[in-house]
Symmetry: C2
Subunit: 488 residues, 2 copies
């Protein structure tokens, strides 16, 4: 049976320079070249194939991910890839893995919160993957409210050690990726208690498993928390549970850049401003917005191609049916998603600039724009991830029954994407923070505190209040973001 390329005629109709658009999308010719090279590298290597991923049982799936992670590591070294190239390669391997947490959370936590000596001791081990680390913050009973964590780290001056302990069921660490099966170490967040006083939540480097036989160390109960949404998706990740029964670690394993406990058990705060930690949050959320664009564009790409190939109804005299992309109902659902994927790409660029700007100001001890930058990234993280999750599902529905098959790629795109609405700040909680920031900004309008950045228009409140809008009724639509923008 003859199979015709049905996309070629559609592609030939393009009215813009596709190659130029590829560069715009990538950000630069340099970024495009790396992306293109890494994509080919992954696509041509059978060790990275993923077509049978959804058919594997959990155990085989997980083993497969371990093999891929090891293979990726081998290739990165063999080809002497730069950090930028290695990161792109992992993007195209496209499988959540313990390495995401090792490189994306464990190493940065030590870099950001460890002293010089701590960095010198631990980073070389982590860089060579002689130890593998995860980031153990969330507990069974505590997610959004980090200050409510129950795990304790009690200083024992007799032995110069901290005793890490899980006093309740709800204090069990729950969710950390890489914890369930792989990690040898973790940065554990626990309430620091010394001299009988609770000094709140701090980070500690804790060894979990033997470097000889990988067995759990005494006092440590650790395991995998089971299946998650979707077939492949995050089931390639060993999200774990961790319970401590009076586990002792040397005092030097508390991350001491910002706060310290002395040999005598005295708590000290260094002069490193705590606000520096918020800079990291801005960075992480900025990458989430960029990822939203990437995830949405993949879904839109599949749905657009399908809409060109799929024909239904409208046959005249036995001729071919109408391509579904020519139906207004299909267009009105699909095209706003396509436009949004591009919009988020450019919002991501802008947030990248914002992060650089905030970082430079923080280094100059200027904290004035931090709350506004924080609100911006919180709001945009919430908006873009919610819309992207819904948008991927809409793309799936736009492919009719075929979108329900894993071979369409869409079910896994959805399942692997949706946790972005919950992690790094639950979207509802984040919007409440934005609302609180906006209310505070409004309440300060008469004062010396001038609104900055995206809220600076509020400084013209008196003028704005006098403006009248000529529009008498709006047409409600999810996409009409301009409704929420100030109009004069």
């Amino acid at each position: 049976m003859e199979v015709i390329d049905q996309l070629a005629p559609e592609r030939s109709k393009s009215q813009f320079d596709v190659d130029a658009m590829k560069i715009v999308w990538a950000g630069s010719q340099h970024a495009f070249d790396i992306s293109d090279r890494m994509a080919r590298l992954v696509a041509s290597d059978p060790a990275f194939r993923k077509d049978y991923r959804v058919t594997l049982g959990r155990k085989e799936l997980f083993k497969n991910t371990l093999r891929k992670a090891a293979h990726a590591w081998k290739r990165i070294i063999e080809l002497r890839l730069t950090e930028e190239e290695a990161s792109k390669l992992r993007t195209f391997v496209d499988e959540p893995a313990f390495t995401d947490l090792h490189w994306g959370m464990f190493v940065p936590a030590i870099k950001g919160q460890g002293t010089e000596e701590q960095q010198q001791k631990w980073l070389p081990l982590a860089y060579k993957m002689q130890i593998i680390g995860c980031y153990a913050q969330t507990e069974l009973g505590h997610g959004s409210n980090v200050q409510g964590l129950e795990t304790t780290a009690t200083f024992d001056p007799a032995t110069d050690e901290f005793v890490i302990h899980s006093p309740t069921l709800t204090s069990s660490k729950w969710w950390p990726g890489g914890l369930g099966k792989v990690s040898t170490h973790a940065v554990v967040y626990a309430r620091l208690i010394t001299d009988g006083k609770d000094y709140g939540v701090h980070g500690f480097i804790v060894q979990l498993r033997s470097l000889d036989d990988h067995s759990a160390l005494p006092g440590i109960t650790v395991g995998d928390i089971g299946m998650k949404f979707g077939n492949g998706a995050y089931n390639t990740m060993d999200n774990g549970v961790l319970h401590f029964d009076h586990v002792r670690i040397p005092r030097e394993q508390m991350l001491m850049r910002v706060s310290q406990v002395t040999r005598e058990g005295k708590f000290k705060q260094s002069d490193v401003p705590r606000q520096l930690l918020y800079g990291t949050m801005v960075y992480v959320r900025q990458t989430i917005v960029a990822d939203a664009s990437s995830a949405l564009s993949r879904a839109v790409c599949i749905a657009t191609r399908y809409s060109c190939v799929r024909r239904q109804f409208g046959s005249q005299d036995g001729g071919p049916e109408t391509q579904v992309i020519d139906y207004k109902t299909q267009q009105s659902r699909l095209f706003p998603l396509l436009a949004t994927a591009y919009a988020y790409r450019f919002v991501g660029e802008w947030l990248n600039w914002l992060y650089t700007d905030v970082t430079q100001r923080l280094q100059a001890n200027d904290f004035s724009t931090l709350p506004e930058a924080h609100a911006c990234t919180a709001g945009l993280k919430s908006l873009t991830t919610s819309f992207t999750a819904d948008g991927i599902e809409e793309c799936r529905k736009l492919c009719g029954g075929h979108g329900y098959l894993c071979s369409s790629g869409l079910p896994e795109l959805f399942a692997v994407y949706v946790p972005a609405c919950t992690y790094e700040g639950d979207n509802t909680v984040l919007l409440l923070q934005v609302a609180r920031f906006l209310m505070k900004t409004v309440s300060q309008l008469g004062s010396d505190k001038k609104p900055v950045g995206t809220t600076s228009y509020m400084g013209r409140i008196e003028h704005l209040m006098q403006c009248r809008c000529d529009v008498q009724r709006g047409i409600g639509t999810c996409y009409n973001v301009s409704m929420y923008m100030p109009s004069e």
Copy 2:
């Protein structure tokens, strides 16, 4: 560690008679008793356990479903369950299986479209499951547009046979549940061609596999179409692909209640009105609305219980944190879903009445209310399934990170539910049909054709056009269905 029942205090606060509500929800004391008995029967039988379902690879999962289906069949016979009881038992086994298609589509198709003799020949075999049937309508290239199906059934007067053939790749049957591995027979929809003329799509009983060794018969290529959304979900079902290479069947295997082909190859239409077929469509969509209520209520139940148990923020002096159900943001998302689950329950009851009413009228050759009944069920099918799919996902998000774990039940509820937005009429296509019906009704307002049922208010158009609404602006919300109702 002590585990406290945190739901008991919440339950004790209930201000209505819970036992009375159970009866209302079930529909009657009789229905409740059966439901309760069957629920206990399934829950107490280890052969029906489903807790490890999501961890199985595809093959084991499917074998497991076969075992359960056989066990259910055994129990139904041993306990001499009534049809109503058997149906409830299958509801609680809660796993899509080939039996759904055998009992829900294959048998009804023969009952509805077969002649008396055809029913006498085939139904006893089907009832005893000596043959297992599926419903092969959708093709790779043809879903919503049934009239566009490409499979042909060409009458050969020389042998008194039909030749069933798939002339193209897109004409392959694609999706039928039970087809991939299990079915021995299918009702196949194909274009009837006789005397060189195309008489459109009709149903034919076609044997697919040997009753001796279950191998595919000559000319038949059949297989499973692969993984679908979710872990368990519809992966317990062997949705299949089927290709015919000039497969011959006796003329008597065309379902001939409505149309016939004579020994000489003449096409005849019986006097059975085609509209009767629409009655079935009203029935099927009515059950879909009832299922929407059931699916949404399960998700809401999980999210509500979680919201009572989960505590986050708001701890005073080290006391317990606030139950998340006490947050307005949680309530404003959860409670409308709870209310909707009840609303759909009662809409389902009303549609049940509508189906009975339409059926009685059809039997008396009164077709006057059929278009309105058809539009009602199409619109309600679309509305309730779209809202329920979104509602289940909202419930999942309301459980935060824990909703992403399969152990919450929510990922599988979503994955198994969403195809309802596509099957039995794609929701967008159905809404276009409703719009067309409404436009036609409006255009006929001046004529003899009076609007009936839910559209009868349009008969008062002149009065309505003079009414003024006092409301000046509406608050957009998905739940505010009353916006779309006539106000006077």
